[in-house]
C-alpha cells in the first residue's frame, strides 16, 4: 500500500512538473463589461483579444503563447481593485491591459506599481494614472492615449476657432476624475483664449433629471455646452435638451465614443477622440478589416472598431512588442524598454514622454443624425 502511494506521488510530481514546464505569458484584460459603460468594456476586450490572437498566430512572444485573462472591472474603483488583486496574486499575471475609466485605473495603478506589474491603460486620460502625487512617473504604468490636459485644450481650441464660441457652459460630474479633469482643462484653455464661462453645474453619475441644469443653460444662452462625460449621461442630457428645444451645440471628449450614443439626441455635437475609422492610413484600414472579420454586431454586420477597441489593440501590441524587444519576461526590463519604444500604432505614432504619456494627435468628430463623421485633426 505504501509503495502504491509513493508511486502515485512520484507520478503526480512528474505530471505537475510537465504542466509547469509549458510556460505561457499571461496578460490580464481589465475592462468594464458591466456597469455604466459596457460598450467601452466590450470594445476594449475585443481589441485586446484581436491583438493577442494575431500574435499567437505568429508564434506568440519569446516562444511562449499568450494567455488572456479577462476580468470585469465595471469602471468602478472597488471591483477594479478586486480584479487587479485577483489577477496579480492568484493568476500571477505580470502584464495588465486596463482599465478604461480613469477613476478605476488610478487605484489599479497604485497596486500594479507597488507589485511590479506593468499596466498599460488603453484609454484612461487623467494625468494621475501614470504620475504619482509628487509628479514623478510611476515606473511600471503607461498609457496608450493622450491625456486630459491635451484633450481639454484641444476641445477649447476647436470651440473657439471653429465654432466661434465666446461663451461656454460646463456640465460636470464632480465624483468622476475623468470628467472633472477634462472640464478643468477645457475651462482653463477656453478662458486663456479669451472666452468666458457663463455657467458651471455639477450633477451625479446616477442622475437622470437634468431639467434644472437645462433651465439654467436656457437662461445663460451659451454658444457651446461642454459635457465631457460618458455616453450614458450624454444620451440623457442631450435628449432632454432637445425636448426642451435647446439648439446649442454640445461638446465632449472620448467618453462620447460608443455605438450606444444616441445620434438623434446628440446630433449637432462634437467630441475629441483618439482616431477615426475614416482615416486613410493603411494601418487603420487593415485593422478595421481584421476587426470587422472577427467581430460582428447583433444584426450580423461587421463591427467598425471604435477608439476604445483601437487603443486596446495598440496597447496590447505595445506591451507584446516591448516584451519581445526586452527579450525576457522581466517587468523591470520591459518597462525600461517601453519607456524608450518607438511604436507605429493604428491610433498614431506612439512615443512616451517623461510622464509615460504618449505624444500623439487628436481627432475631432462631429455627430450627425446618420452617424459620427470625421471633422478635423489637431496635432500637439
Amino acid at each position: 500500500m505504501k509503495r502504491l502511494v509513493v508511486v502515485l506521488l512520484v507520478l503526480l510530481a512528474v505530471v505537475a512538473f510537465q504542466a509547469s514546464a509549458q510556460k505561457v505569458i499571461k496578460v490580464a484584460i481589465l475592462a468594464p463589461l458591466s456597469g455604466p459603460v459596457p460598450t467601452f468594456g466590450v470594445s476594449t476586450r475585443d481589441g485586446a483579444l484581436l491583438a493577442i490572437e494575431e500574435w499567437n498566430a505568429k508564434g506568440g512572444v519569446l516562444g511562449m503563447k499568450i494567455q488572456p485573462i479577462v476580468e470585469d472591472s465595471q469602471c468602478t474603483p472597488d471591483p477594479a481593485v478586486n480584479a487587479a488583486n485577483k489577477v496579480i496574486d492568484q493568476d500571477k499575471v505580470h502584464y495588465i491591459i486596463g482599465e478604461v475609466c480613469s477613476k478605476a485605473s488610478i487605484p489599479v495603478s497604485e497596486i500594479a506599481n507597488a507589485k511590479g506589474v506593468i499596466q498599460i491603460s488603453p484609454t484612461s486620460t487623467n494625468p494621475s494614472v501614470t504620475v504619482d502625487a509628487a509628479g514623478k512617473a510611476k515606473p511600471y504604468i503607461f498609457r496608450a492615449c493622450f491625456i486630459d490636459p491635451f484633450q481639454g485644450t484641444v476641445g477649447a481650441k476647436f470651440a473657439i476657432e471653429k465654432l466661434k464660441a465666446k461663451k461656454a457652459f460646463i456640465m460636470l460630474d464632480q465624483a468622476n476624475d475623468y470628467v472633472k479633469g477634462l472640464a478643468e482643462f477645457f475651462e482653463a484653455s477656453f478662458k486663456k483664449q479669451g472666452g468666458t464661462i457663463v455657467g458651471k453645474e455639477s450633477y451625479t453619475a446616477t442622475d437622470t433629471d437634468f431639467a434644472a441644469i437645462l433651465a439654467k443653460i436656457k437662461t445663460a444662452r451659451p454658444d457651446v455646452v461642454y459635457l465631457p462625460d460618458y455616453y450614458n449621461i450624454v444620451n440623457l442630457a442631450t435628449k432632454q435638451a432637445k425636448e426642451k428645444g435647446l439648439q446649442v451645440p454640445f461638446m465632449g471628449g472620448d467618453g462620447w465614443d460608443s455605438s450606444d450614443l444616441d445620434l438623434a439626441a446628440s446630433a449637432g455635437g462634437y467630441f475629441t477622440n483618439h482616431y477615426s475609422p475614416e482615416d486613410p492610413r493603411p494601418e487603420v484600414k487593415n485593422f478595421v478589416k481584421a476587426y470587422g472579420a472577427k467581430f460582428q454586431d447583433d444584426s450580423g454586420n461587421a463591427k467598425v472598431p471604435d477608439a476604445l477597441a483601437t487603443l486596446a489593440y495598440d496597447a496590447t501590441n505595445l506591451m507584446l512588442q516591448a516584451i519581445k524587444e526586452a527579450g525576457a519576461d522581466d517587468t523591470k526590463k520591459v518597462s525600461a524598454t517601453l519607456a524608450k519604444i518607438k511604436f507605429n500604432g493604428v491610433s498614431g505614432k506612439i512615443t512616451f514622454d517623461a510622464s509615460h504619456n504618449p505624444v500623439k494627435s487628436a481627432t475631432i468628430l462631429a455627430v450627425k443624425p446618420d452617424g459620427v463623421k470625421f471633422e478635423a485633426v489637431v496635432n500637439p
Partner: protein, 378 residues
C-alpha cells in the same frame, strides 16, 4: 387614513400647568424658524428676479412631486394598516419601470392594436397600447407585492416590529441585486424606450408647440405632455383612492383594520385579505409611478427605486404617515424642495436637502402635517 374622533372632553379639576420647555428647546425652534424664513426669502427673491427660470424649475418640481405622491401612497397606506415601513416599495416601483421597458422594447406591446387589427388609426393604437403597457406593469407589481407580503411580512406579523423592518430592508436589497444579475435585468443603465413620443410646448405670449430645430425664447416656460400625464394620473389616483377608502366596503374594512386590528377581526373582517389588498393597491400605484418615471427620465437600472423610494418615504412622513392627502402634500413639497435645490443651489445637494427635511420633520413635528398621534389603547 382618518380616524373617527373619539376624544371625550374631560373636566379637569386640577389647575392647568404648562410644562416649561427648557430654554435650549426654544433656541432650537428659533433656529429652525430662522432657517425657514431665510429659505422663504431666497425663494421669493429668486422668483421675482427671474420668473421664467423659477417657473421652469417649478414645473420640474411638479413632475417629481406627483411621481413621489404615487409612491408615497403605498408607504403611507401600508404603515397605516400594519405599522410597517415597506422599504421594498421603491423596488416594486423599479420593477414596474422594467416591465414596461420590456413590453415596449421587446414585445412592442404599445402598438398591439395596429399589429392585430389592420387599418387601426395609429394615434388610437398608441394610446390603447400605452394603456395596456401601464396596466400590465401595474398587474405585475401587484402580484409581486402580494407575494412579498405573503412570503416575507405575514409570518412576522406578531413579531416585534423591528424584525419586519429588517425584513423589508432585506427584501429591498434582494430585489435590487437579484435584478442586477445578467439573466434577470442586467446591472447596466438601460436607455428606456418610450411607448409614445414627447411633445413639448412653451408659454410665451400664448402657448406654442416646440418645433424640433427651433429654440423657444429664453424667457419662456416649457412643459411637456409627460408632465401633464403625470399630473393627471396622480390626481386621478388620489380621487380613486379617496373614493375607495371613504365610500366602499373594502375601504371601511381598511380603515377599521388600521384603527384596531383585533377588534376588526372579531367583527368578521378578513384582516389578512384586507392587508393583502392594501399592499396590492399601493403596489399598483407604485407600478404606475415606475412607468411614468421611466418615461420622464428615460434611463432605468435596478437601483432606480432606492432614492425615489426613500424620498417618497420622507414625503409620507412629512405629510403624516398614515394619511392619504398627507402623502400628496408631502410629496409635492418634497418635489419642489428637490427642484429648487437643484436649480438654485446645486444638483448633488438635492439628496442632502431631502433627508434634512426628514430630520427636521422628526425633530419638530414627528406626526407630520396631517398626522394624528398614535392613539393610546386604554
Amino acid at each position: 387614513m382618518s380616524n373617527p374622533s373619539a376624544t371625550a372632553k374631560t373636566v379637569s379639576t386640577a389647575p392647568k400647568q404648562r410644562k416649561r420647555r427648557a430654554p435650549l428647546a426654544w433656541l432650537g425652534r428659533a433656529f429652525l424658524i430662522l432657517i425657514g424664513l431665510y429659505v422663504l426669502y431666497v425663494i421669493v427673491s429668486n422668483l421675482i428676479k427671474d420668473f421664467s427660470l423659477f417657473a421652469n424649475i417649478f414645473t420640474g418640481g411638479l413632475q417629481l412631486g406627483f411621481v413621489y405622491a404615487l409612491i408615497a401612497l403605498g408607504y403611507t397606506m401600508v404603515y397605516g394598516i400594519v405599522r410597517l415601513i415597506n422599504f421594498a416599495h421603491g423596488d416594486v416601483f423599479m420593477v414596474g419601470a422594467f416591465v414596461s421597458y420590456y413590453s415596449v422594447a421587446r414585445f412592442k406591446l404599445h402598438l398591439w392594436p395596429a399589429a392585430v387589427i389592420q387599418g387601426f388609426p395609429p394615434v388610437l393604437s398608441t394610446l390603447l397600447g400605452s394603456i395596456t403597457v401601464i396596466l400590465l406593469s401595474m398587474v405585475v407589481c401587484v402580484l409581486l407585492a402580494v407575494t412579498i407580503e405573503r412570503v416575507a411580512y405575514k409570518p412576522l406579523r406578531d413579531a416585534p416590529r423591528i424584525a419586519a423592518l429588517i425584513t423589508a430592508i432585506g427584501m429591498s436589497f434582494f430585489l435590487e441585486f437579484f435584478g442586477a444579475l445578467n439573466f434577470v435585468f442586467s446591472p447596466r443603465f438601460i436607455p428606456y424606450e418610450r411607448p409614445f413620443g414627447v411633445v413639448a410646448w412653451f408659454i410665451s405670449k400664448g402657448i406654442h408647440l416646440v418645433v424640433p430645430g427651433e429654440e423657444p425664447p429664453s424667457d419662456s416656460v416649457t412643459f411637456s405632455n409627460i408632465l401633464l400625464l403625470i399630473i393627471a394620473a396622480s390626481i386621478m389616483v388620489q380621487l380613486v383612492l379617496q373614493f375607495l377608502v371613504r365610500r366602499t366596503k373594502i375601504g371601511m374594512a381598511m380603515r377599521a383594520t388600521s384603527f384596531d386590528k383585533p377588534t376588526a377581526r372579531l367583527m368578521g373582517i378578513k384582516v389578512d385579505r384586507v392587508i393583502s389588498f392594501t399592499f396590492a393597491i399601493g403596489a399598483a400605484f407604485a407600478g404606475l409611478g415606475g412607468v411614468l418615471y421611466a418615461i420622464a427620465y428615460s434611463s432605468i437600472w435596478t437601483q432606480l427605486g432606492i432614492l425615489p423610494g426613500l424620498k417618497a418615504f420622507v414625503a409620507a412622513v412629512l405629510g403624516g404617515i398614515g394619511s392619504i392627502p398627507g402623502a400628496l402634500v408631502g410629496a409635492l413639497i418634497m418635489g419642489q424642495a428637490e427642484a429648487l435645490t437643484m436649480g438654485y443651489i446645486s444638483t448633488p445637494m438635492r439628496d442632502a436637502v431631502a433627508f434634512t427635511i426628514l430630520i427636521v420633520v422628526l425633530l419638530v413635528r414627528p406626526t407630520g402635517i396631517f398626522g394624528e398621534p398614535e392613539k393610546e389603547k386604554a
